[in-house]
Subunit: 244 residues, 2 copies
């Protein structure tokens, strides 16, 4: 909607990948370098970007405090933290916390497995809606209109042979999720990794987040992962009670 602002945000995202020179940025955005310069100057004044002695541009220190603030503004994160830690310790598996954010599902916390299993998820990065447990849970919790709109816009990228690849199939899956109160992901996103996820529901019935447990099948098979379900549901219930 706002052209210059949109370009400025693009610059910030680009700088997130590494430092850039002025016309490197101009080339990326396909605008005149004068334009880029003025945007950078404005952001520099507010410390969103900084410039080293060799005139290479980097992200500025304002982002430190803003990110802290963004974290604190996720009430659910703070409330959930102790419960997630316990769940992580009891099960020893990777635990994720995610929240809905205008049309997307974002990981807002992550506790690693005691085994050093690497997962591609990362705090602050969107989760796929059609093939992750948290994605399904939070999508299922959206009001119908919103949900249907999203079903249409998802790119049903086929990550594994098990990935759901169309809106109709996903709609059925979401109905099931809503009925049973939790979601599964049987190697739909990463081969050899199974997940279960459940919504955090606060007193009024509003879903404010989702928790998932992810387990590589070399550690536990799917049936064994299902045995963790009561623990997961107890955790999300406890978070919901603490939330207010």
């Amino acid at each position: 909607m706002s052209q210059s602002l949109g370009r400025a945000l693009q610059i910030l995202v680009s700088l997130g990948e590494g430092d850039r020179s002025l016309d490197q940025l101009a080339t990326e955005l396909d605008v005149h370098k004068t334009t880029v310069l003025r945007l950078l100057r404005t952001m520099e004044a507010e410390r969103f970007v900084r410039r080293d002695e060799a005139h290479r541009y980097r992200l500025g220190s304002r982002l430190f405090s803003l990110a802290d603030a963004a974290r604190e503004q996720h009430v659910v994160r703070a409330v959930a933290a102790p419960h997630l830690r316990q769940l992580n310790q009891r099960t020893g598996q990777t635990v994720h916390l995610a929240a809905y954010e205008n049309g997307q599902v974002i990981y807002i916390d992550k506790l690693d497995s005691v085994q050093s299993v690497r997962m591609y998820s990362q705090v602050g990065v969107p989760a796929a809606l059609h093939c992750t447990a948290v994605g399904k849970v939070l999508l299922a919790a959206q009001p119908k209109r919103q949900r249907e709109a999203l079903l249409g816009t998802i790119e049903y990228h086929r990550f594994t042979p098990n990935t759901i690849t169309g809106p109709d199939q996903l709609r059925d899956e979401l109905d099931k999720v809503r009925a049973q109160g939790w979601a599964q992901d049987r190697a739909e996103h990463e081969s050899f990794i199974n997940c279960i996820g459940a919504p955090i529901t606060e007193r009024s019935g509003r879903v404010v987040g989702a928790v998932s447990i992810s387990v590589p099948d070399v550690l536990l098979n799917y049936e064994q992962v299902l045995e963790l379900l009561p623990d997961l549901l107890a955790t999300t219930a406890a978070i919901g009670v603490d939330y207010h």
Copy 2:
């Protein structure tokens, strides 16, 4: 330089202090709410802000990954970290790492005292140039023109009776700092807290940051703080060697 972008950044800073409604923001910026709405929409699309069900606006998740990137882009932070930890453990005192960022000095890392002494400094927030050890060190290291320009723009706010309150006095102080290779702050910023700070100089002679130790005088008097100086200088030297 760019009006709309400037306003957008103001919005982000404002949201950093807490969530806002649309015309709360419009009032703060003193613009029409239509304008604010369009800026918010643009930022929403890039996940810089999010909007909850009650149409209150908050900071978005994009800031998470950007802040991580901003941190990683400070090479000195990673290099210094282990040395700072050791210095913090050996002395037991509050240790700060700061860097110069277009006309300001920003704390980019902080290790707390073993005693629970609260200091007002915070990572990502600017340090006063005229009354902190890191401020003096980094200001002293600037090229002359830059330095003189800054001497003129500083607001010489008098925090304590010891605070330097004018450019001439500060210029003399900076000469001393440059000559001796370190800076002091004898209760110039916070009463009852003394600091010493030293520059991190990499091989080529460029100053890439500053480290300081802060001690409340209930724990050590100024002479005792000076006894920590060799340890501080050894630390900054070691960081300088590791830096490349």
